[in-house]
Symmetry: C2
Subunit: 433 residues, 2 copies
């Protein structure tokens, strides 16, 4: 080979190695490989209007504050983190739930700063924002709900938000939910939306909502902000009862990393604009609301930090539903199970380990474990028919089911999680800097 | 530049990039950066002899089975995993504790296969091994204790072990504890030993032991095998009482990844060969035993899979000691805290989050958080004197202290953990394949 050819070859090699090195050093995905193909086409919810602006709370030049305006008569229900170190906005929302709904209401949400562990200053920020929104929209201050997500422990620069209230008001339109979903993102790689419609008599009511994840996702509930809207007419007590009930098997049944945020907030508003009355016993509406909540909860998992696998963990045959959930979460939160999934390793031994450590009752010799439909282990040992290659092939899929029957009762639970990858480490070892 | 010079330069660049790529792809350390400088020079424990052989249980051409022979009259105490899916060897040991100690005893331990979740076959393997050891050493079978560590759910090829019993017997010598420590390693990057001596009256008694880690390390207890020996003369009840008590603040106060093994075993033998009587109220002996246990427990954390930081989490001012430990473990097990430590990020917000989610009582506005001596946060907010650079500089150290005062009571607890790094992912996403 001539020297010129050799130089050309070496240069090619250098650029190839550089690309490989960059890939080896950056495990993150621009968009989660588990993301849905596109954001859904959300319906207009009569009685609700939305807007979003770039306020520069922390991020530069991106939507980071959203406003939702709700017509007079809208009822609002909510569920929140159970953290003992809840943020100022969460405490404020909790205090306001159940108030009179004859006047209008609003939600204001920012990304970039969670206003958590910010002492009395944090309460002041909430007051400044809710007061400004109340004034601009002419709604009572105790009907303005806020949520904040982002860094903990730094004062929220609320002036940057209050300076944008007029702009937010001017931009309010019925069909801007996708912008709002964009504005509340932090490390999310895609905006999350979901919808459903229900026929009640000969009328249609709509449900639509959006959410953000995507670390600190664990019951109860996650660094999750979720906002759902319906044009059904529902009394506050009924709305709250349905939400609290359905939350248990949706947002309280997902976990990314077992960590729980100080800011988790799910607000559900019913504007009543459809004129269709719904109560908590309306099965069709409950089912539709459940669909929207599960869809959003699953999308949060699919965008779990660094996630490359979506894992359903189903536990049956436990002493009780509560014990089944303890086992399911023990499996879903086990770093050793999650790294095995990341490595596409059908390591059912780690599933046994996670059941053993959960603290809930299990009998080693009555366990049955399946990966999807593949019977892996039964009666305290590997199944005689199990082929390791079948397990290994199964684990290559994006969506996985770990199915455990404990054989000691009728309790059951399903939770959802993702794998634990290099990208999770990369995202979280550098988040703040 | 001439073409020859250019080629030389490009070749250099290629080899540099190759090295960088290899480093980026391999996060593991040959030896943990937190390892002690060397294995300690362990004293002979009169009445105990040790040997180790290469049995090829799983690993080829390395020590993987060890034998300890204990003279007649030796008492044995033990603590074990609380997993509901405990391994066959653990169940066998638990059944044998407290038996008559007038005859001799033995410990046989293998690495490479944990004989866990192996059904009735697992019990058969234990019986085959204990029977062979009993025959060879002329000790009762119910005085032969075994422990196994390694892959779960595969039958233990116990023939490979029983075939080596005569060789093990022939090699027994008083000063082979280091070989034994080598033989029980799995993913450990260094063998772990510790010792102490106690003056009682004008006589000296010795304590020495060894351990292995290094994943699934969490209360209660860890994939931890620990064997400690003393020449003191101690009744079984006293030995067990001391061990159970001291275990709570040593091996039950460390966590690598929150996962708990099905095989954790700590056996403590007192040969009585020194002729010095010790009971459970002997403070000097207790202190020395505690030193050995803490030393080994800390070494297990220092060899946690992928560890680059050793972290002490100290919680004071809790409602009770038990609540303090719940908070401390919540901090120590939080993936977000552990990745922040890995990233040398003084992210005290994640400490607040972990306290909030623990389930034990805390008041956000009474918390005080220190990194080492640096006051970071107090009264619900960052301390006015805190300088981020001071925190960042502190986090660069290998050994870190996260110090939390809850300000709500007198309860306290200390636990130890390590950081969560790319190497942990690498080790555990590939362990089985």
């Amino acid at each position: 080979m001539g020297k010129t050819a050799k130089i050309k070859k070496l240069k090619k090699k250098v650029s190839k190695l550089k690309a490989k090195l960059a890939a080896a050093q950056d495990h993150t995905h621009k968009v989660s490989p588990l993301a849905p193909a596109s954001f859904p086409d959300l319906p207009v919810i009569a009685g609700a209007r939305f807007s979003a602006v770039k306020a520069g709370v922390k991020y530069k030049d991106r939507l980071d504050v959203m406003l939702a305006e709700l017509q007079a008569g809208s009822t609002v229900a909510g569920v929140f983190t159970k953290s003992a170190t809840r943020s100022a906005p969460v405490l404020d929302c909790q205090a306001k739930l159940g108030g009179a709904s004859d006047k209008g209401a609003a939600f204001l949400v920012n990304a970039g700063n969670s206003n958590a562990f910010t002492g009395a200053t944090g309460d002041g920020s909430v007051a400044a924002i809710t007061s400004a929104v109340a004034g601009a929209l002419d709604v009572p201050q105790d009907r303005v709900f806020t949520a904040s997500t982002g860094v903990i422990g730094e004062p929220l620069p609320h002036d940057r938000i209050t300076a944008k209230i007029d702009e937010l008001k001017g931009l309010l339109v019925p069909d801007a939910m996708q912008d709002a979903a964009q504005a509340i993102r932090t490390t999310d790689t895609f905006p999350k939306g979901a919808k459903a419609e229900v026929k009640i008599g000969d009328r249609i009511v709509h449900i639509a909502g959006f959410a953000k994840g995507s670390g600190m996702i664990a019951p109860d509930m996650a660094t999750m902000l979720v906002f759902i809207f319906t044009d059904a007419k529902i009394a506050q007590e009924d709305l709250q009862a349905m939400l609290s009930d359905l939350n248990e098997d949706s947002f309280n049944a997902i976990t990314v990393d077992s960590d729980t945020s100080t800011s988790d907030t799910l607000l559900l508003a019913a504007t009543g604009a459809s004129g269709v009355d719904v109560d908590q016993n309306n099965t069709a509406f409950r089912t539709a609301l459940n669909d929207v909540m599960l869809d959003l909860a699953h999308q949060v998992v699919r965008d779990g930090e660094g996630a490359t696998k979506f894992v359903e963990v189903r536990v049956t045959g436990a002493k009780s539903d509560a014990e089944a959930k303890i086992h399911a979460l023990s499996i879903a939160n086990s770093p050793l199970v999650k790294t095995a999934v990341a490595g596409e390793d059908p390591n059912w031994g780690r599933v046994v380990m996670a059941i053993g450590k959960s603290g809930a009752y299990a009998d080693r010799d009555l366990l049955t474990i399946r990966f999807g439909d593949i019977l892996v282990a039964e009666k305290g040992w590997v199944s005689p028919d199990y082929q390791e290659e079948a397990g290994a092939t199964y684990m290559k899929q994006d969506d996985l089911l770990i199915d455990v029957d404990l054989g000691v009762g009728d309790g059951q639970a399903t939770v959802w999680t993702c794998d634990l990858t290099h990208a999770y480490i990369q995202i979280n070892a550098d988040y703040r800097s």
